[in-house]
Amino acid sequence: MSDSHYTPKSKVGKWFNDRLPLLTLANHLTDYPTPKNLNYWWTFGGILTFCLITQIVTGLVLAMHYIADTKLAFASVEHIMRDVNYGWLIRYVHANGASMFFLAVYIHIFRSLFYGSYKSPREIIWILGIIIYLLMMAAAFMGYVLPWGQMSYWGATVITNLFSAIPLIGEGITTWLWGGYSVDNPTLTRFYALHYLIPFLILGLVVLHIWALHVPGNNNPVGIEIKKPSNDTVPFHPYIVIKDAFALLLFLIVFAFFVFYTPNILGHADNYIEANPLVTPAHIVPEWYLLPFYAILRSVPDKLMGVIAMFSAILILAALPWLDTSKIRSAVFRPLYKQFYWILVIDVLILGYVGAMPAEGLYLLVARIATAYYFAHFLIILPVLGFTEKTNPIPLSISEPVLAGSAMATRAVNDDKVEINLKSLG
Protein backbone atom coordinates (compact mmCIF):
# COMPACT_ATOMS: atom_id res chain seq x y z
CA MET A 1 0.00 0.00 0.00
CA SER A 2 1.26 3.41 -0.96
CA ASP A 3 -0.53 5.33 1.81
CA SER A 4 2.54 6.82 3.41
CA HIS A 5 3.65 8.33 0.11
CA TYR A 6 0.41 10.16 -0.43
CA THR A 7 0.63 13.96 -0.69
CA PRO A 8 -2.47 16.11 -1.26
CA LYS A 9 -2.29 18.18 -4.41
CA SER A 10 -3.59 21.48 -3.03
CA LYS A 11 -1.57 23.65 -0.65
CA VAL A 12 -4.42 23.86 1.84
CA GLY A 13 -4.87 20.11 1.67
CA LYS A 14 -1.20 19.57 2.36
CA TRP A 15 -1.25 22.06 5.23
CA PHE A 16 -4.24 20.28 6.79
CA ASN A 17 -2.97 16.78 6.11
CA ASP A 18 0.37 17.49 7.78
CA ARG A 19 -1.54 18.36 10.95
CA LEU A 20 -4.32 15.72 10.79
CA PRO A 21 -3.81 13.08 8.08
CA LEU A 22 -7.50 12.65 7.29
CA LEU A 23 -6.82 12.98 3.57
CA THR A 24 -4.28 10.17 3.79
CA LEU A 25 -6.99 8.06 5.40
CA ALA A 26 -9.49 8.98 2.67
CA ASN A 27 -6.88 8.15 0.04
CA HIS A 28 -6.20 4.79 1.69
CA LEU A 29 -9.92 3.96 1.70
CA THR A 30 -10.36 4.93 -1.95
CA ASP A 31 -7.28 3.21 -3.30
CA TYR A 32 -7.48 0.19 -0.97
CA PRO A 33 -6.54 -2.76 -3.22
CA THR A 34 -9.35 -5.32 -3.28
CA PRO A 35 -9.24 -8.80 -4.83
CA LYS A 36 -10.86 -8.54 -8.23
CA ASN A 37 -12.82 -11.78 -7.85
CA LEU A 38 -14.99 -10.76 -4.86
CA ASN A 39 -18.54 -12.01 -5.43
CA TYR A 40 -21.84 -10.63 -4.14
CA TRP A 41 -21.48 -12.46 -0.81
CA TRP A 42 -18.78 -9.88 -0.09
CA THR A 43 -21.21 -6.98 -0.30
CA PHE A 44 -22.79 -7.64 3.08
CA GLY A 45 -20.11 -5.72 5.00
CA GLY A 46 -21.30 -2.55 3.34
CA ILE A 47 -24.94 -3.55 3.81
CA LEU A 48 -24.30 -4.10 7.52
CA THR A 49 -22.73 -0.66 7.86
CA PHE A 50 -25.86 0.76 6.26
CA CYS A 51 -28.04 -1.22 8.71
CA LEU A 52 -26.11 0.08 11.72
CA ILE A 53 -26.42 3.69 10.60
CA THR A 54 -30.14 3.22 9.85
CA GLN A 55 -30.71 1.84 13.34
CA ILE A 56 -28.80 4.70 14.96
CA VAL A 57 -30.63 7.40 12.97
CA THR A 58 -34.15 5.95 13.37
CA GLY A 59 -33.38 5.12 17.01
CA LEU A 60 -32.33 8.69 17.72
CA VAL A 61 -35.62 9.95 16.28
CA LEU A 62 -37.69 7.41 18.21
CA ALA A 63 -35.91 8.42 21.42
CA MET A 64 -37.34 11.93 20.94
CA HIS A 65 -40.86 10.52 21.45
CA TYR A 66 -40.48 7.38 23.53
CA ILE A 67 -40.90 7.46 27.31
CA ALA A 68 -39.12 4.83 29.40
CA ASP A 69 -41.62 4.34 32.22
CA THR A 70 -43.71 1.22 32.78
CA LYS A 71 -46.87 3.34 32.99
CA LEU A 72 -46.18 5.29 29.81
CA ALA A 73 -43.92 3.19 27.58
CA PHE A 74 -46.63 1.17 25.85
CA ALA A 75 -48.79 4.26 25.28
CA SER A 76 -45.83 6.29 24.02
CA VAL A 77 -45.10 3.66 21.37
CA GLU A 78 -48.74 3.80 20.25
CA HIS A 79 -48.41 7.59 20.27
CA ILE A 80 -45.45 7.25 17.91
CA MET A 81 -47.50 4.96 15.67
CA ARG A 82 -50.62 7.13 15.56
CA ASP A 83 -49.75 10.76 16.28
CA VAL A 84 -46.12 11.49 15.46
CA ASN A 85 -45.57 12.58 11.85
CA TYR A 86 -44.21 9.57 9.98
CA GLY A 87 -43.82 7.88 13.38
CA TRP A 88 -45.23 4.64 11.98
CA LEU A 89 -42.62 4.64 9.22
CA ILE A 90 -39.70 5.39 11.50
CA ARG A 91 -40.75 2.74 14.02
CA TYR A 92 -41.38 0.11 11.37
CA VAL A 93 -38.00 0.82 9.78
CA HIS A 94 -36.34 0.52 13.20
CA ALA A 95 -38.18 -2.69 14.16
CA ASN A 96 -37.75 -4.40 10.79
CA GLY A 97 -34.29 -2.88 10.51
CA ALA A 98 -33.24 -5.08 13.43
CA SER A 99 -34.39 -8.15 11.52
CA MET A 100 -32.67 -6.99 8.33
CA PHE A 101 -29.51 -6.34 10.34
CA PHE A 102 -29.53 -9.94 11.58
CA LEU A 103 -30.40 -11.33 8.16
CA ALA A 104 -27.36 -9.55 6.74
CA VAL A 105 -25.10 -10.54 9.63
CA TYR A 106 -26.03 -14.21 9.27
CA ILE A 107 -25.20 -14.13 5.54
CA HIS A 108 -21.95 -12.31 6.39
CA ILE A 109 -21.02 -14.95 9.01
CA PHE A 110 -21.88 -17.89 6.77
CA ARG A 111 -19.87 -16.25 3.97
CA SER A 112 -16.87 -16.34 6.31
CA LEU A 113 -17.57 -19.96 7.17
CA PHE A 114 -17.72 -20.99 3.52
CA TYR A 115 -14.63 -19.15 2.32
CA GLY A 116 -12.60 -19.65 5.51
CA SER A 117 -12.24 -15.91 6.08
CA TYR A 118 -11.69 -16.51 9.82
CA LYS A 119 -8.37 -18.27 9.26
CA SER A 120 -4.89 -16.90 9.79
CA PRO A 121 -4.10 -14.01 9.48
CA ARG A 122 -7.69 -12.81 9.97
CA GLU A 123 -8.49 -14.25 13.45
CA ILE A 124 -8.78 -10.85 15.11
CA ILE A 125 -11.22 -9.61 12.46
CA TRP A 126 -13.30 -12.70 13.13
CA ILE A 127 -13.25 -12.35 16.92
CA LEU A 128 -14.14 -8.66 16.70
CA GLY A 129 -17.04 -9.77 14.52
CA ILE A 130 -18.22 -12.26 17.15
CA ILE A 131 -18.11 -9.51 19.79
CA ILE A 132 -20.14 -7.24 17.50
CA TYR A 133 -22.63 -10.09 17.00
CA LEU A 134 -22.96 -10.59 20.78
CA LEU A 135 -23.53 -6.85 21.27
CA MET A 136 -26.12 -6.90 18.47
CA MET A 137 -28.02 -9.62 20.30
CA ALA A 138 -27.87 -7.64 23.56
CA ALA A 139 -29.06 -4.47 21.82
CA ALA A 140 -31.87 -6.31 20.00
CA PHE A 141 -33.02 -8.01 23.19
CA MET A 142 -33.10 -4.78 25.20
CA GLY A 143 -34.77 -2.91 22.35
CA TYR A 144 -37.50 -5.51 22.24
CA VAL A 145 -38.25 -4.85 25.93
CA LEU A 146 -38.84 -1.10 25.45
CA PRO A 147 -42.40 -1.20 23.98
CA TRP A 148 -43.42 -2.94 27.24
CA GLY A 149 -45.77 -5.41 25.60
CA GLN A 150 -46.38 -8.94 26.83
CA MET A 151 -43.50 -10.43 24.82
CA SER A 152 -41.24 -7.58 25.95
CA TYR A 153 -41.97 -8.29 29.58
CA TRP A 154 -41.84 -12.07 29.48
CA GLY A 155 -38.89 -12.19 27.12
CA ALA A 156 -37.02 -9.95 29.57
CA THR A 157 -38.08 -12.18 32.46
CA VAL A 158 -36.92 -15.38 30.79
CA ILE A 159 -33.60 -14.01 29.53
CA THR A 160 -32.63 -12.27 32.79
CA ASN A 161 -33.54 -15.45 34.65
CA LEU A 162 -30.86 -17.26 32.63
CA PHE A 163 -28.36 -15.66 35.01
CA SER A 164 -30.11 -17.18 38.04
CA ALA A 165 -28.77 -20.53 36.85
CA ILE A 166 -25.27 -19.50 38.00
CA PRO A 167 -24.59 -21.29 41.30
CA LEU A 168 -24.48 -19.22 44.52
CA ILE A 169 -24.37 -15.72 43.04
CA GLY A 170 -27.05 -16.24 40.37
CA GLU A 171 -29.98 -14.88 42.39
CA GLY A 172 -27.96 -11.84 43.44
CA ILE A 173 -27.00 -11.13 39.84
CA THR A 174 -30.60 -11.37 38.65
CA THR A 175 -31.81 -9.00 41.39
CA TRP A 176 -28.99 -6.63 40.47
CA LEU A 177 -29.93 -6.75 36.78
CA TRP A 178 -33.57 -6.09 37.61
CA GLY A 179 -33.00 -3.44 40.27
CA GLY A 180 -35.83 -5.10 42.17
CA TYR A 181 -37.42 -8.48 42.73
CA SER A 182 -38.87 -8.79 39.25
CA VAL A 183 -38.65 -7.06 35.87
CA ASP A 184 -40.06 -3.60 36.57
CA ASN A 185 -39.52 0.12 36.07
CA PRO A 186 -35.83 0.12 37.14
CA THR A 187 -35.23 -2.66 34.61
CA LEU A 188 -36.93 -0.73 31.82
CA THR A 189 -34.99 2.49 32.41
CA ARG A 190 -31.60 0.78 32.52
CA PHE A 191 -32.38 -1.30 29.43
CA TYR A 192 -33.24 1.93 27.64
CA ALA A 193 -29.94 3.52 28.66
CA LEU A 194 -27.98 0.45 27.53
CA HIS A 195 -29.98 0.09 24.33
CA TYR A 196 -28.91 3.64 23.47
CA LEU A 197 -25.27 2.97 24.37
CA ILE A 198 -24.63 -0.36 22.62
CA PRO A 199 -24.96 0.81 18.98
CA PHE A 200 -22.12 3.27 19.59
CA LEU A 201 -19.98 0.50 21.08
CA ILE A 202 -20.76 -1.51 17.95
CA LEU A 203 -19.78 1.47 15.80
CA GLY A 204 -16.41 1.62 17.55
CA LEU A 205 -15.89 -2.10 17.10
CA VAL A 206 -16.83 -1.82 13.42
CA VAL A 207 -14.01 0.71 13.00
CA LEU A 208 -11.60 -1.81 14.60
CA HIS A 209 -13.10 -4.62 12.49
CA ILE A 210 -12.42 -2.68 9.28
CA TRP A 211 -9.01 -1.54 10.50
CA ALA A 212 -8.05 -5.15 11.21
CA LEU A 213 -9.39 -6.08 7.77
CA HIS A 214 -7.25 -3.48 6.05
CA VAL A 215 -4.05 -4.94 7.49
CA PRO A 216 -4.05 -8.28 5.59
CA GLY A 217 -6.71 -7.15 3.08
CA ASN A 218 -9.81 -9.05 1.99
CA ASN A 219 -10.00 -12.79 1.70
CA ASN A 220 -11.51 -13.85 -1.64
CA PRO A 221 -13.54 -16.72 -3.11
CA VAL A 222 -10.39 -18.63 -4.09
CA GLY A 223 -9.03 -18.14 -0.57
CA ILE A 224 -5.38 -17.65 -1.55
CA GLU A 225 -3.09 -14.88 -0.41
CA ILE A 226 -2.49 -12.35 -3.17
CA LYS A 227 0.00 -9.59 -3.73
CA LYS A 228 -1.46 -6.15 -3.08
CA PRO A 229 -1.61 -4.14 -5.20
CA SER A 230 -1.15 -6.33 -8.27
CA ASN A 231 -3.07 -7.37 -11.35
CA ASP A 232 -5.13 -9.52 -8.95
CA THR A 233 -6.57 -6.41 -7.28
CA VAL A 234 -8.76 -3.45 -8.15
CA PRO A 235 -9.01 -0.19 -6.19
CA PHE A 236 -11.93 -0.05 -3.74
CA HIS A 237 -13.26 3.03 -5.49
CA PRO A 238 -15.01 2.92 -7.91
CA TYR A 239 -15.11 -0.86 -8.46
CA ILE A 240 -16.24 -2.15 -5.05
CA VAL A 241 -18.17 0.99 -4.18
CA ILE A 242 -20.42 0.55 -7.20
CA LYS A 243 -20.84 -3.17 -6.62
CA ASP A 244 -21.69 -2.61 -2.93
CA ALA A 245 -24.14 0.14 -3.86
CA PHE A 246 -25.92 -2.11 -6.35
CA ALA A 247 -26.18 -4.93 -3.79
CA LEU A 248 -27.47 -2.44 -1.22
CA LEU A 249 -30.24 -1.41 -3.62
CA LEU A 250 -31.33 -5.03 -4.01
CA PHE A 251 -31.21 -5.45 -0.24
CA LEU A 252 -33.32 -2.31 0.21
CA ILE A 253 -36.04 -3.84 -1.97
CA VAL A 254 -36.36 -6.69 0.53
CA PHE A 255 -36.16 -4.22 3.43
CA ALA A 256 -38.88 -2.03 1.91
CA PHE A 257 -41.08 -5.04 1.23
CA PHE A 258 -41.17 -5.85 4.93
CA VAL A 259 -41.60 -2.24 6.05
CA PHE A 260 -44.39 -1.34 3.63
CA TYR A 261 -46.23 -4.59 2.96
CA THR A 262 -45.91 -6.77 6.02
CA PRO A 263 -44.37 -4.73 8.84
CA ASN A 264 -45.56 -6.98 11.66
CA ILE A 265 -44.90 -10.42 10.25
CA LEU A 266 -41.54 -10.75 12.01
CA GLY A 267 -42.98 -9.64 15.37
CA HIS A 268 -45.47 -11.25 17.73
CA ALA A 269 -49.10 -10.22 18.07
CA ASP A 270 -48.75 -10.62 21.85
CA ASN A 271 -46.51 -7.59 21.96
CA TYR A 272 -49.48 -5.38 21.13
CA ILE A 273 -50.90 -6.34 24.53
CA GLU A 274 -49.51 -4.25 27.37
CA ALA A 275 -47.20 -6.09 29.78
CA ASN A 276 -48.99 -7.95 32.58
CA PRO A 277 -46.77 -9.45 35.30
CA LEU A 278 -49.54 -11.86 36.33
CA VAL A 279 -50.22 -13.56 33.00
CA THR A 280 -47.60 -15.36 30.93
CA PRO A 281 -48.49 -15.66 27.24
CA ALA A 282 -49.26 -19.25 26.27
CA HIS A 283 -46.24 -19.51 24.04
CA ILE A 284 -43.14 -17.41 24.62
CA VAL A 285 -40.89 -17.18 21.59
CA PRO A 286 -37.95 -14.86 21.04
CA GLU A 287 -37.46 -12.97 17.79
CA TRP A 288 -36.60 -15.21 14.85
CA TYR A 289 -32.90 -14.37 14.86
CA LEU A 290 -32.43 -15.81 18.35
CA LEU A 291 -34.42 -19.01 17.77
CA PRO A 292 -31.52 -21.43 17.09
CA PHE A 293 -29.92 -20.54 20.42
CA TYR A 294 -33.28 -20.73 22.17
CA ALA A 295 -33.70 -24.26 20.77
CA ILE A 296 -30.28 -25.21 22.18
CA LEU A 297 -31.24 -23.79 25.59
CA ARG A 298 -34.45 -25.81 25.70
CA SER A 299 -32.96 -29.03 24.38
CA VAL A 300 -30.93 -29.54 27.57
CA PRO A 301 -33.09 -30.81 30.44
CA ASP A 302 -30.90 -29.24 33.15
CA LYS A 303 -31.25 -25.48 33.80
CA LEU A 304 -27.57 -24.63 34.35
CA MET A 305 -26.35 -26.94 31.60
CA GLY A 306 -28.93 -25.49 29.20
CA VAL A 307 -27.65 -21.97 29.83
CA ILE A 308 -24.03 -23.13 29.47
CA ALA A 309 -24.86 -24.90 26.19
CA MET A 310 -26.55 -21.81 24.81
CA PHE A 311 -23.67 -19.46 25.59
CA SER A 312 -21.11 -22.05 24.42
CA ALA A 313 -22.90 -22.29 21.08
CA ILE A 314 -21.97 -18.65 20.45
CA LEU A 315 -18.59 -18.57 22.18
CA ILE A 316 -17.39 -21.68 20.33
CA LEU A 317 -17.34 -19.51 17.21
CA ALA A 318 -14.54 -17.43 18.73
CA ALA A 319 -12.35 -20.56 18.84
CA LEU A 320 -13.16 -21.46 15.26
CA PRO A 321 -9.84 -20.27 13.74
CA TRP A 322 -8.10 -22.88 15.88
CA LEU A 323 -10.73 -25.62 15.67
CA ASP A 324 -10.57 -25.65 11.88
CA THR A 325 -7.22 -27.30 11.26
CA SER A 326 -7.30 -27.17 7.45
CA LYS A 327 -4.69 -25.01 5.75
CA ILE A 328 -6.98 -24.44 2.76
CA ARG A 329 -9.34 -21.52 3.29
CA SER A 330 -12.00 -21.70 0.61
CA ALA A 331 -14.60 -24.50 0.61
CA VAL A 332 -14.30 -24.40 -3.19
CA PHE A 333 -11.21 -26.59 -2.84
CA ARG A 334 -12.51 -28.69 0.07
CA PRO A 335 -15.01 -31.22 -1.30
CA LEU A 336 -15.83 -32.78 2.08
CA TYR A 337 -15.95 -29.53 4.06
CA LYS A 338 -18.32 -28.13 1.46
CA GLN A 339 -20.81 -30.89 2.23
CA PHE A 340 -20.45 -30.48 6.01
CA TYR A 341 -20.86 -26.73 5.55
CA TRP A 342 -24.27 -27.19 3.94
CA ILE A 343 -25.28 -29.73 6.59
CA LEU A 344 -24.42 -27.10 9.22
CA VAL A 345 -26.55 -24.51 7.40
CA ILE A 346 -29.49 -26.94 7.39
CA ASP A 347 -28.81 -27.87 11.02
CA VAL A 348 -29.01 -24.21 12.10
CA LEU A 349 -32.22 -23.72 10.10
CA ILE A 350 -33.71 -26.79 11.80
CA LEU A 351 -32.68 -25.42 15.20
CA GLY A 352 -34.41 -22.16 14.29
CA TYR A 353 -37.57 -24.02 13.31
CA VAL A 354 -37.80 -26.19 16.43
CA GLY A 355 -36.94 -23.12 18.55
CA ALA A 356 -40.26 -21.65 17.43
CA MET A 357 -42.19 -24.83 18.23
CA PRO A 358 -43.28 -26.11 21.66
CA ALA A 359 -40.50 -27.98 23.49
CA GLU A 360 -42.12 -31.42 23.57
CA GLY A 361 -42.37 -34.73 21.75
CA LEU A 362 -40.75 -34.96 18.36
CA TYR A 363 -39.67 -31.29 18.34
CA LEU A 364 -37.63 -31.85 21.48
CA LEU A 365 -35.98 -34.95 20.02
CA VAL A 366 -35.10 -33.11 16.80
CA ALA A 367 -33.78 -30.16 18.83
CA ARG A 368 -31.51 -32.49 20.81
CA ILE A 369 -30.09 -34.17 17.73
CA ALA A 370 -29.56 -30.82 15.99
CA THR A 371 -27.87 -29.40 19.10
CA ALA A 372 -25.54 -32.38 19.34
CA TYR A 373 -24.69 -32.05 15.65
CA TYR A 374 -24.02 -28.31 16.00
CA PHE A 375 -21.34 -28.95 18.62
CA ALA A 376 -20.01 -32.01 16.78
CA HIS A 377 -19.45 -29.87 13.68
CA PHE A 378 -17.11 -27.52 15.51
CA LEU A 379 -15.54 -29.88 18.04
CA ILE A 380 -15.13 -33.09 16.05
CA ILE A 381 -15.74 -32.68 12.31
CA LEU A 382 -13.70 -29.52 11.70
CA PRO A 383 -10.56 -30.55 13.64
CA VAL A 384 -10.52 -34.04 12.11
CA LEU A 385 -11.36 -32.88 8.59
CA GLY A 386 -8.26 -30.70 8.42
CA PHE A 387 -6.06 -33.78 8.70
CA THR A 388 -8.03 -36.32 6.70
CA GLU A 389 -9.60 -34.40 3.83
CA LYS A 390 -8.02 -34.64 0.39
CA THR A 391 -8.31 -31.11 -0.93
CA ASN A 392 -8.33 -30.07 -4.57
CA PRO A 393 -5.37 -28.16 -5.98
CA ILE A 394 -5.56 -24.41 -5.52
CA PRO A 395 -4.44 -21.91 -8.17
CA LEU A 396 -1.33 -19.79 -7.66
CA SER A 397 -3.11 -16.53 -8.36
CA ILE A 398 -6.59 -15.19 -8.95
CA SER A 399 -5.78 -14.43 -12.58
CA GLU A 400 -4.48 -17.90 -13.35
CA PRO A 401 -7.74 -19.87 -13.68
CA VAL A 402 -9.26 -16.99 -15.64
CA LEU A 403 -6.37 -16.58 -18.07
CA ALA A 404 -5.92 -20.32 -18.57
CA GLY A 405 -9.55 -20.74 -19.59
CA SER A 406 -11.45 -22.99 -17.20
CA ALA A 407 -10.64 -23.99 -13.65
CA MET A 408 -10.45 -27.62 -14.73
CA ALA A 409 -7.74 -26.84 -17.25
CA THR A 410 -5.53 -25.17 -14.67
CA ARG A 411 -6.01 -27.97 -12.23
CA ALA A 412 -3.89 -30.41 -14.18
CA VAL A 413 -1.14 -27.84 -14.65
CA ASN A 414 -1.31 -26.91 -11.02
CA ASP A 415 -0.99 -30.25 -9.36
CA ASP A 416 2.74 -29.97 -8.73
CA LYS A 417 2.53 -26.37 -7.63
CA VAL A 418 0.20 -27.03 -4.72
CA GLU A 419 2.97 -28.08 -2.40
CA ILE A 420 4.76 -24.79 -2.81
CA ASN A 421 1.57 -22.87 -2.48
CA LEU A 422 0.64 -24.60 0.76
CA LYS A 423 3.97 -23.62 2.23
CA SER A 424 3.50 -20.01 1.29
CA LEU A 425 0.05 -20.09 2.92
CA GLY A 426 1.19 -21.62 6.16
Binding site: W154, T157, V158, T160, N161, L162, S164, T175, W176, L177, W178, G179, G180, Y181, S182, V183, D184, P186, R190, P277, L278, V279, T280, P281, A282, H283, I284, R298, V300, P301, D302, K303, L304, G306, P358, A359, E360
Partner: protein, 170 residues
Protein backbone atom coordinates in the same frame (compact mmCIF):
# COMPACT_ATOMS: atom_id res chain seq x y z
CA UNK B 1 16.47 -12.27 33.18
CA UNK B 2 18.55 -14.74 35.08
CA UNK B 3 19.75 -12.68 38.03
CA UNK B 4 16.95 -11.08 40.03
CA UNK B 5 17.42 -7.50 41.01
CA UNK B 6 17.28 -6.90 44.74
CA UNK B 7 14.07 -5.23 45.91
CA UNK B 8 14.59 -1.57 46.52
CA UNK B 9 12.62 1.41 47.74
CA UNK B 10 11.34 2.17 44.24
CA UNK B 11 9.74 -1.29 43.98
CA UNK B 12 8.00 -0.63 47.25
CA UNK B 13 6.70 2.70 45.99
CA UNK B 14 5.40 1.07 42.77
CA UNK B 15 3.57 -1.62 44.72
CA UNK B 16 2.15 0.83 47.23
CA UNK B 17 0.96 3.17 44.46
CA UNK B 18 -0.68 0.33 42.55
CA UNK B 19 -2.39 -0.95 45.70
CA UNK B 20 -3.66 2.51 46.66
CA UNK B 21 -4.82 3.04 43.10
CA UNK B 22 -6.70 -0.27 43.05
CA UNK B 23 -8.48 0.56 46.30
CA UNK B 24 -9.35 4.02 44.98
CA UNK B 25 -10.72 2.70 41.70
CA UNK B 26 -12.69 0.00 43.55
CA UNK B 27 -14.21 2.59 45.90
CA UNK B 28 -15.14 4.82 42.95
CA UNK B 29 -16.66 1.98 40.92
CA UNK B 30 -18.71 0.41 43.69
CA UNK B 31 -21.41 3.16 43.81
CA UNK B 32 -21.74 2.82 40.02
CA UNK B 33 -22.37 -0.90 40.41
CA UNK B 34 -24.50 -0.79 43.53
CA UNK B 35 -26.90 1.82 42.12
CA UNK B 36 -28.37 -0.99 40.05
CA UNK B 37 -29.43 -2.98 43.14
CA UNK B 38 -33.01 -2.57 44.49
CA UNK B 39 -33.47 0.98 45.74
CA UNK B 40 -35.14 2.19 48.95
CA UNK B 41 -38.55 2.64 47.31
CA UNK B 42 -38.49 -0.90 45.94
CA UNK B 43 -37.45 -2.34 49.30
CA UNK B 44 -40.18 -0.36 51.05
CA UNK B 45 -42.87 -2.39 49.29
CA UNK B 46 -41.65 -5.52 51.00
CA UNK B 47 -44.91 -6.81 52.58
CA UNK B 48 -48.53 -7.22 51.51
CA UNK B 49 -51.68 -8.10 53.48
CA UNK B 50 -54.32 -10.22 51.77
CA UNK B 51 -57.95 -10.86 52.70
CA UNK B 52 -58.71 -14.52 51.95
CA UNK B 53 -62.25 -14.76 53.32
CA UNK B 54 -63.88 -15.03 49.89
CA UNK B 55 -61.76 -17.90 48.60
CA UNK B 56 -63.72 -21.17 48.46
CA UNK B 57 -62.17 -24.67 48.61
CA UNK B 58 -60.58 -25.54 45.27
CA UNK B 59 -60.22 -21.88 44.30
CA UNK B 60 -57.02 -19.93 44.13
CA UNK B 61 -56.21 -16.25 43.96
CA UNK B 62 -53.12 -14.49 42.70
CA UNK B 63 -51.80 -11.43 44.49
CA UNK B 64 -48.82 -9.25 43.76
CA UNK B 65 -45.97 -9.08 46.24
CA UNK B 66 -42.73 -7.28 45.35
CA UNK B 67 -43.95 -7.20 41.74
CA UNK B 68 -44.25 -10.98 41.68
CA UNK B 69 -47.38 -13.09 41.62
CA UNK B 70 -48.15 -15.11 44.76
CA UNK B 71 -50.61 -17.99 44.47
CA UNK B 72 -52.92 -18.47 47.44
CA UNK B 73 -54.69 -21.77 46.91
CA UNK B 74 -57.40 -23.15 49.19
CA UNK B 75 -56.88 -26.85 48.60
CA UNK B 76 -59.59 -29.48 48.71
CA UNK B 77 -59.13 -32.51 50.97
CA UNK B 78 -58.52 -34.59 47.85
CA UNK B 79 -55.68 -32.32 46.75
CA UNK B 80 -54.11 -32.37 50.20
CA UNK B 81 -54.30 -36.18 50.31
CA UNK B 82 -52.74 -36.40 46.89
CA UNK B 83 -49.84 -34.16 47.89
CA UNK B 84 -49.25 -36.13 51.10
CA UNK B 85 -49.41 -39.55 49.47
CA UNK B 86 -46.21 -38.84 47.52
CA UNK B 87 -43.03 -40.38 48.92
CA UNK B 88 -39.88 -38.28 49.02
CA UNK B 89 -37.86 -40.46 46.64
CA UNK B 90 -40.35 -39.72 43.86
CA UNK B 91 -39.40 -36.05 44.02
CA UNK B 92 -36.71 -34.17 42.15
CA UNK B 93 -36.48 -31.66 44.99
CA UNK B 94 -37.61 -33.66 48.04
CA UNK B 95 -39.78 -31.63 50.41
CA UNK B 96 -42.68 -32.84 52.52
CA UNK B 97 -46.03 -31.17 51.88
CA UNK B 98 -46.20 -30.60 55.66
CA UNK B 99 -43.09 -28.41 55.44
CA UNK B 100 -44.54 -26.31 52.63
CA UNK B 101 -47.73 -25.16 54.37
CA UNK B 102 -48.66 -23.60 57.71
CA UNK B 103 -52.28 -24.68 57.41
CA UNK B 104 -52.79 -27.72 55.13
CA UNK B 105 -55.81 -26.09 53.53
CA UNK B 106 -53.85 -23.03 52.39
CA UNK B 107 -50.93 -23.29 50.02
CA UNK B 108 -49.14 -19.94 49.72
CA UNK B 109 -46.28 -19.83 47.21
CA UNK B 110 -44.54 -17.64 44.67
CA UNK B 111 -46.30 -18.23 41.37
CA UNK B 112 -43.06 -18.27 39.49
CA UNK B 113 -41.62 -21.20 37.65
CA UNK B 114 -38.15 -21.90 39.02
CA UNK B 115 -36.88 -22.56 35.51
CA UNK B 116 -36.92 -19.13 33.90
CA UNK B 117 -39.54 -17.19 35.78
CA UNK B 118 -42.81 -17.62 33.88
CA UNK B 119 -46.16 -17.79 35.68
CA UNK B 120 -47.45 -21.39 35.65
CA UNK B 121 -51.11 -22.10 34.90
CA UNK B 122 -53.15 -23.61 37.73
CA UNK B 123 -55.09 -26.92 37.64
CA UNK B 124 -53.08 -28.05 34.66
CA UNK B 125 -50.34 -30.53 33.93
CA UNK B 126 -49.82 -34.21 34.55
CA UNK B 127 -49.92 -33.86 38.34
CA UNK B 128 -53.08 -31.70 38.55
CA UNK B 129 -51.15 -28.85 40.11
CA UNK B 130 -49.50 -26.28 37.92
CA UNK B 131 -48.05 -26.36 34.44
CA UNK B 132 -45.60 -23.84 33.02
CA UNK B 133 -46.37 -23.14 29.36
CA UNK B 134 -42.95 -21.71 28.63
CA UNK B 135 -40.78 -24.79 28.80
CA UNK B 136 -43.12 -27.51 30.04
CA UNK B 137 -42.50 -27.89 33.79
CA UNK B 138 -45.18 -29.84 35.71
CA UNK B 139 -45.85 -29.13 39.41
CA UNK B 140 -48.03 -31.15 41.81
CA UNK B 141 -50.74 -29.94 44.20
CA UNK B 142 -48.04 -28.91 46.64
CA UNK B 143 -46.22 -26.83 44.00
CA UNK B 144 -43.35 -29.32 43.83
CA UNK B 145 -41.52 -29.90 40.56
CA UNK B 146 -42.35 -33.32 39.14
CA UNK B 147 -41.40 -33.19 35.48
CA UNK B 148 -39.64 -30.75 33.17
CA UNK B 149 -36.60 -28.47 33.27
CA UNK B 150 -37.30 -26.52 36.49
CA UNK B 151 -34.65 -27.43 39.09
CA UNK B 152 -36.55 -26.86 42.35
CA UNK B 153 -40.05 -26.58 43.82
CA UNK B 154 -41.93 -23.31 43.61
CA UNK B 155 -40.72 -21.08 46.41
CA UNK B 156 -42.66 -20.51 49.62
CA UNK B 157 -42.47 -16.84 50.67
CA UNK B 158 -42.38 -15.73 54.29
CA UNK B 159 -45.95 -15.25 55.50
CA UNK B 160 -48.10 -15.32 58.63
CA UNK B 161 -51.80 -15.73 59.29
CA UNK B 162 -52.68 -12.46 61.06
CA UNK B 163 -56.12 -13.93 61.76
CA UNK B 164 -58.43 -16.47 60.15
CA UNK B 165 -59.09 -14.29 57.13
CA UNK B 166 -55.87 -12.36 56.62
CA UNK B 167 -52.43 -13.38 55.45
CA UNK B 168 -49.44 -11.09 55.61
CA UNK B 169 -46.83 -11.92 52.99
CA UNK B 170 -43.26 -10.76 53.51
Amino acid sequence: MSDKKPKNRRDFIFTATAAAGAVGVGAAVWPLVDQMNPDASVKALASTEVDISSVKPGQSITVVWRGKPVFIKRRTQEEIDKARAVTLDELKHPEKDEDRVKNPEWLVMLGICTHLGCVPLSDKGEYDGWFCPCHGSHYDTSGRIRKGPAPINMEIPEYVFLNENTIKIG
